[in-house]
């Protein structure tokens, strides 16, 4: 089991109803974790429309995770 810290922004924050959470998971990568969370929380965006950042940096999917990592799932951006 790994302990992971997740921050949610924008549409994911609203759909999750929280800005962040700490959870324990058996998932080995961020992609698998997102797909679990998507079922639980009803996130509308499929994983292939997201990017992921781990410990403050973008990482390519499937993005292996380690105990203590800080994850942010990044919905399609829309600055400007």
């Amino acid at each position: 089991m790994k302990t992971l810290h997740i921050q949610y922004f924008a549409i994911l924050r609203e759909q999750r109803g929280e800005s962040n959470e700490t959870l324990s998971t058996e998932s080995n990568d961020a992609a698998a974790l997102y797909e679990d969370l998507q079922k639980t929380h009803g996130f509308t965006l499929p994983v292939d429309r997201l990017r992921v950042a781990i410990n403050g940096e973008f990482q390519p999917w499937p993005a292996p995770v380690e105990d203590g990592d800080e994850l942010v799932f990044i919905p399609p951006v829309a600055g400007g």
């Binding site: 922004f9 549409i11 924050r13 509308t44 403050g56 399609p76 951006v77 829309a78 600055g79 400007g80």
Partner: protein, 152 residues
């Protein structure tokens, strides 16, 4: 050559001051403003949210790329977060170069890359009452929290 996220209204003049350089003959700026419509819908206001830490990292990476690619003498950019009304400034980009060609090209490169790469999100609030996170649709054009009426 800095990009930053600001929760306070952007002051373009104080931004522009950092661009001064004796070898600069050209200064190009871009401002993104909250406009009263999008894709045919009347917009009442916009909310911007950022993953500030990574936004600043990625934004500064873009500034460095532009500086190298276009031989800039100075560059700065700032993106607002929070709830903005029509006419408010959402983003400001300014660059200085010896000549105008690179200044225009760099300014455009920066705003294009900021929009494409930096983790900032925009929620439109429509005059008709609905709202939507832009680019987050899973069907149609919008990921509407509540479906916007067709004639708004």
């Amino acid at each position: 050559m800095a990009f930053r996220i600001s929760a306070e209204p952007i002051q373009p003049q104080s931004q522009a001051d950092v661009l001064q350089h004796p070898a600069a003959g050209a200064c190009a700026t871009f401002e993104g403003w909250v406009r009263d419509h999008n894709e045919g819908q009347a917009v009442a206001s916009l909310e911007y949210e950022a993953y500030a830490q990574l936004a600043e990292t990625e934004g500064n990476r873009i500034m460095a790329e532009a500086t190298e690619k276009f031989e800039l003498l100075a560059a700065a950019a700032v993106h607002r977060v929070g709830h903005l009304q029509i006419g408010e400034m959402a983003v400001w980009v300014g660059v200085a170069a010896a000549h105008r060609g690179p200044a225009f090209d760099a300014c455009r490169f920066i705003i294009d890359e900021l929009k494409a790469r930096v983790p900032i999100w925009k929620k439109e609030h429509y005059v008709a009452g609905a709202s939507a996170w832009i680019n987050c649709a899973t069907k149609g054009d919008f990921a509407a929290d509540t479906a916007p009426p067709e004639n708004s």
